[in-house]
């Protein structure tokens, strides 16, 4: 079984396609690395999720307690 030879167009676009591919892979790797850093550093990530969570309430400042 033989493959058809590459069209001349594919040869011309080869460097462009490889360049774009490498750029996209690098971009994905960077976003992944950023995500890992932001998650492990504990940047604020909790939000309201329809369940009361007292630990999320802002700390009471002053006021009188019974």
């Amino acid at each position: 079984m033989s493959f058809r030879p590459d069209h001349e167009l594919h040869k011309r676009r080869f460097s462009r396609n490889v360049g774009l591919g490498v750029t996209l892979v690098a971009f994905v790797a960077l976003v992944f690395a950023l995500t890992v850093v932001k998650v492990t550093r504990g940047d604020p990530m909790q939000g309201f999720d329809h369940t009361v969570r007292p630990e999320m309430a802002p700390a009471a400042t002053g006021g009188t307690q019974p």
Binding site: R12, R13, S15, R16, V18, G19, L20, L30, A33, L34, V36, V37, K38, R41
Partner: protein, 311 residues
């Protein structure tokens, strides 16, 4: 403008042609000054976040370069220095350069907001707008002050770097801005003195074309004199120290001497020695900015070992 003019098509655009649209040489200066702005800031940044921030600042600067090449393709085609750029050379179509610039601008600003903060991203967006619209579309072709005000666009990167770390601006970041802002006119006007045919042919109202060469020489001296106090003041702030001050004094002394020599030279003498003084002043201007920012960086390193800074 560029969209009504057709440029000869010479084959398919290669990856390198798109890279050339980003003005890699300008980008290298942006990367360096933004990196210094980020590293000398009093707040530390995680290396990955710092790397990403610098990358997206550079990408934003590159995007504004692509927009500039789209808009200025007609004058780039006339000037020797710029006629081999991708659009006038026919390698990348004008509309493609526009789309590329706009898309990368959006990606750079959004990604800087996500990786660093909104303030830094806002500054980057403003810088792109300033360079592409205020400088390229408006000032460059309408006033000989184009270089002065347009220089602000190149002065923002250290301020953005500082904002990535601190989330705001300060005297120090404003002085780093001021340093590049005051440095730009003598740098470019020295270039305009020895590349005179280029700007004349393109009809760009460079100071050399509108006010004559003697006035340009005088303006180079004026801006170099005004640059010195900004540089010394920056060396006296928290990003400076004795080392930076010593470097700043030497750099400004040499730069002032060069500007004085340019001012004193009559045009026939300059023409006779093929603008040797102007060319060496231009080369030194590049060294001036690089060494000055490197000094801030060295000072920050010394401080880490308890040596530098104004204790």
């Amino acid at each position: 403008m560029s969209d009504v003019q057709a440029y000869p098509q010479s084959g398919e655009a290669q990856f390198g042609d798109y890279v050339a649209l980003l003005k890699p040489r300008v980008m290298s200066l942006v990367v360096f000054t933004a990196l210094v702005g980020l590293l000398v800031a009093p707040v530390g940044v995680h290396p990955v976040v710092g790397f990403a921030a610098i990358l997206f600042i550079a990408l934003g600067a590159g995007a504004s370069g692509a927009l500039n090449m789209w808009w200025d393709a007609d004058i780039d085609a006339v000037m020797n220095r710029t006629k081999s750029r991708p659009v006038p050379a026919g390698k990348v179509q004008s509309g493609e350069a526009l789309g590329f610039g706009l898309a990368l601008s959006g990606i750079a600003v959004v990604m800087l907001a996500l990786s660093a903060n909104l303030f830094a991203a806002g500054l980057l967006a403003f810088t792109i707008f300033f360079y592409a619209v205020v400088y390229s579309m408006w000032l460059k072709r309408s006033t000989p002050q184009n270089i002065v005000i347009g220089g602000a666009a190149g002065a923002f990167p250290p301020m953005i770097g500082w904002a990535v770390a601190t989330g705001g601006v300060s005297v120090e970041s404003a002085l780093m801005f001021g340093l590049i802002f005051m440095w730009t006119p003598p740098h470019f006007w020295a270039l305009a003195l020895f590349m005179k045919e280029d700007y004349h042919k393109a009809g760009v109202p460079m100071l050399t074309v509108t006010h004559g060469r003697a006035e340009t020489r005088r303006q180079i001296l004026i801006y170099t004199v005004l640059l010195a106090p900004v540089s010394i003041w920056a060396a006296l702030t928290t990003i400076g120290g004795p080392f930076t001050l010593a470097v700043a004094v030497v750099l400004n002394a040499v730069f002032l001497k060069g500007a004085y020599d340019i001012w004193k030279r009559p045009e026939p003498v300059a023409e006779a020695d093929k603008y040797a003084v102007e060319k060496s002043f231009f080369k030194f201007s590049l060294l001036y900015l690089f060494v000055h920012f490197a000094a801030f960086l060295v000072e920050a390193l010394l401080k880490a070992y308890g040596l530098g800074g104004w204790a």
